[in-house]
């Protein structure tokens, strides 16, 4: 199910963990990996001058410069490339999220792999004038699943055996479920379905009684049984649980307990509010915190 992987990278340490996962997957599943890097943001209207993302210097881009950047990328990933047969390197100019999405539209990959935050300071070229991060913007509208590796601990991939599917019962979650189902069938691993009952933000100003919480949990379990279990006939091993708490914390805890290799969640397509642009939603918090790769699905 992973024949074409688009690995969007800053070609810096920030993406090294993601690189490990991306190359690992390419090898394990005999996929073609496209290493995609946005080298700079055009600084002056119609001129050829570009602000290089690494040096933060103005450069005049020509074929030679692009070839040089491609060479740099080859050097950065020389180890991985030794054992990768099917790869290509693509370099683009523009705003990173836009160019990643453009490349995804052109390539039609089965999966996009990205690192987490580059942790850049405010003067990062990537952050110029745009609200929110590259990751958020890609996650929102990516045409295929997006796998994110944020923490070093999350970079383990290989012999995948435990996959978590976190649901909030939305339409987008249904899409994520279909993907999770296909994945566990193909890779023959366990599926753990999980829902967290939000007792934090949703009921602000009112404390739920334990009876209420427990009846809500029962209701959620009933929904999982009704919605997902009938479709799991071919899945030999699965379980499901509903916990109460702050959803993203509970998912991360659950994943830890299950020794999860992967978390799959839906990314809601609703616009994030403008004021709250730093990793706001649950999935974004899970990406930041999880000890394994997270796949985000928006459609």
């Amino acid at each position: 199910m992973f024949k074409k992987i688009l690995f969007a990278t800053s070609a810096t340490e920030a993406c090294d963990h993601a690189a490990r996962v991306a190359f690992n997957m390419a090898q394990s599943y005999d996929a073609k990996i496209c290493i995609f890097h946005v080298l700079g943001v055009p600084t002056r209207g119609f001129s050829q001058v570009v602000l290089d993302v690494k040096t933060k210097e103005e450069v005049v881009v020509d074929d030679e410069y692009i070839a040089w950047v491609e060479e740099e990328i080859k050097v950065h990933y020389s180890k991985q490339l030794e054992t990768t047969r099917n790869f290509e390197i693509k370099v683009a100019i523009g705003l990173p999220h836009r160019e990643i999405l453009r490349a995804a539209r052109e390539l039609g990959p089965d999966l996009i792999v990205m690192g987490g935050s580059t942790g850049d300071d405010e003067d990062s070229v990537y952050k110029k004038s745009l609200v929110g991060s590259t990751l958020q913007r890609v996650a929102k509208v990516a045409p295929c699943p997006l796998l994110v590796v944020n923490r070093p601990a999350a970079s383990f991939w290989g012999g995948m055996s435990n996959v978590i599917f976190g649901t909030d019962f939305s339409k987008a979650s249904d899409a994520a479920f279909r993907f999770a189902l296909q994945l566990v069938k193909t890779l023959a691993c366990e599926l753990h379905i999980f829902h967290a009952l939000d007792i934090g933000s949703m009921h602000l100003g009112r404390i739920m009684t334990q009876d209420e919480i427990e009846s809500n949990i029962r209701e959620s379990l009933r929904r999982i049984r009704g919605r997902y279990i009938p479709e799991m006939k071919d899945v030999p091993e699965y379980d499901f649980e509903v916990w109460e708490g702050i959803p993203y914390v509970e998912i991360v805890k659950y994943a830890r307990e299950k020794h999860a290799d992967l978390i799959i969640m839906a990314h809601h397509t609703q616009k994030a509010s403008r004021e709250d642009t730093r990793l706001g939603s649950n999935i974004e918090q899970v990406i930041v915190r999880a000890g394994c790769p997270v796949i985000s699905i928006n459609r």
Binding site: P42, T43, R44, G45, F46, S47, Q48, V49, L51, V60, D62, D63, E64, Y65, G94, L95, R98, L101, R105, D123, K128, S129, V141, S170, K171, T269, Q270, K271, R274, R299
Partner: protein, 497 residues
């Protein structure tokens, strides 16, 4: 005289244009048969094909191009003939009646920012270039033309501010627009400008964006946003629509969200709109380059789309020079006796103000901007097309009362962003451009604003660059994303979960 027609006089009449072209063709024939030094890249021939364009782009930074320019010959005969044919009574009079009073000096931000260097006085700048060209009947040398080129592109942004302060109404901006045409003819044009004009000739767009790219990108953007805005679409080539929307190729190339945002606002306002598959590019780097023939080609291409699709009106994107090129000056380039485009053509701010005024778009008052905001008046549609009040009307809808602060000076007296007239794009003159940004930097600092709304691509770029260069902590934005963040979505257009 209608101030909007100011430049028209500077542009060639059809007859003069065809003579100019004939002469150009003769020149290139002549070139083949004799030893007149013409560079491979730097020459008197416009870029006409994709291959030539790519080759020129391949000359990184115009290194070889500028090297070749050093030995480029001047075709004195052609230059003088062109001047005789195209320098009409208005500009002749202007050159003669200048009283050298110096009133224009303080009106020029480049004079002020360059320590009041007398060589930056507009009257001096034009007399020492165009004035001399006329006096010497075109018999000038290579070094002189280098000086003219630098003056025309690095010492004047064609902002036309001096024309307002001259007691005689002499507008050096207009005259430099004309001088650029003479420079272009002789091959003394900055590398990026030659490329820009070439782009228009090859793609009918300022960047290498094809008609297919345009439609495909617009459709892609609508796909990305249609879940948030059910029913969102981009009607392509629809005849008889109320609005024909035209854009800036840079939006397609680098900021396609802008296309989605335009679609969203038309959608929410319930407009019957369309985009043309061809003739969608409103801008004209050919105008900045002084490539008069390409100016005509480009604008006629847009007018053809208007004539083909017969919309009620044309609305252009948030761009200043695009409006000047297509709406204000274009009709004269195209030789339209009405002095107007084929259909009523308005700037984005005019459409937006109307939509807000008439309630087609409703702002949620709780979401209005509640931080110090200022507005950048674009020379090209404010000083040059009088749209100073309409932008402030928009401010009254989207900024919480008490938070809007004017720059000083403002409206038609506002200074150029510092990167106008092509200045932003010219690598050779980057240091001069960066210095020119200081005017706007200080205006912004004095305004006390945290955000500057800049409904003009060129100003938007210049402000972004000045933040990069001087780091004053200013934020900048077009109108579209701001309005989208605060517009009320009508019940029937809301997404259903």
């Amino acid at each position: 005289m209608n101030p909007n027609n100011k430049i028209a006089g500077a542009i060639l009449s059809d007859a003069a244009l065809s003579l100019f072209h004939k002469k150009q063709r003769e020149t290139s024939k002549f070139k083949e048969g004799c030893s007149m030094p013409e560079g491979k890249f730097c020459n008197k021939k416009p870029v006409e094909t994709e291959e030539e364009l790519k080759a020129l782009l391949g000359d990184t930074g115009g290194k070889q191009y500028y090297e070749e320019m050093k030995s480029l010959d001047i075709d004195h005969e052609l230059l003088w003939k062109t001047i005789q044919n195209t320098l009409k009574s208005r500009m002749k009079t202007w050159l003669e009646i200048c009283a050298h009073c110096g009133m224009c000096a303080d009106s020029c931000f480049l004079y002020l920012i360059n320590d009041q260097d007398p060589r930056q006085v507009p009257a001096y700048k034009i007399q020492s270039t165009l004035g001399e060209l006329v006096k010497r009947k075109g018999k000038v040398d290579n070094e002189f033309m280098h000086m003219v080129m630098e003056t025309a592109w690095a010492k004047c942004t064609c902002c036309n501010r001096c024309g307002m302060y001259c007691p005689h109404g002499i507008d050096m901006g207009i005259m430099f627009g004309y001088v650029r045409g003479l420079c272009y003819q002789q091959g003394f044009v900055p590398w990026e400008m030659k490329i820009g004009a070439g782009m228009h000739r090859v793609y009918r767009a300022q960047m290498d964006v094809t008609d297919e790219d345009f439609v495909e990108t617009f459709e892609w953007m609508v796909e990305e946003y249609e879940e948030d805005y059910p029913g969102l679409e981009v009607p392509v080539d629809k005849e008889g629509a109320d609005i024909l929307y035209t854009v800036n190729a840079r939006e397609v190339k680098h900021y396609p969200e802008d296309l989605a945002e335009a679609a969203i606002l038309f959608h929410l306002a319930g407009e019957n709109w369309t985009v043309p598959t061809s003739g969608w590019e409103q801008t004209s780097l050919a105008m900045f380059a002084g490539d008069w023939a390409a100016c005509k080609m480009q604008v006629e291409h847009v007018y053809a789309a208007m004539e083909r699709l017969k919309p009620k009106r044309m609305v252009g994107t948030e761009c200043g020079h695009a409006h000047r090129a297509t709406v204000v000056e274009g009709p004269y380039w195209a030789g339209r006796s009405s002095g107007k485009p084929p259909v009523e053509s308005i700037h984005y701010v005019e459409w937006l103000a109307e939509a807000l005024r008439e309630g087609k778009l409703k702002i949620d008052p709780t979401k209005r901007l509640k931080k110090p905001v200022t507005l950048q008046d674009s020379c090209n549609y404010v000083r040059n097309n009088g749209l100073k009040d309409i932008t402030r009307e928009i401010m009254s809808y989207i900024v919480e009362p008490g938070y809007f602060m004017e720059m000083s000076p403002n409206r038609e007296h506002n200074y150029c962003c510092g990167g106008g007239g092509g200045f932003n794009g010219i690598g050779l003159f980057r240091p001069q451009r960066n210095k020119a940004l200081i005017t706007k930097r200080d205006q912004l600092l004095h305004s006390g604003a945290e955000l500057v709304i800049s409904p003009c691509h060129n100003c938007w770029d210049a402000i972004r660059d000045l933040e990069e260069e001087y780091k004053i902590g200013i934020k900048w934005s077009f109108l579209k994303p701001l309005v989208i963040s605060m517009v009320e979505i009508p019940e029937h257009l809301k997404p259903k979960e």
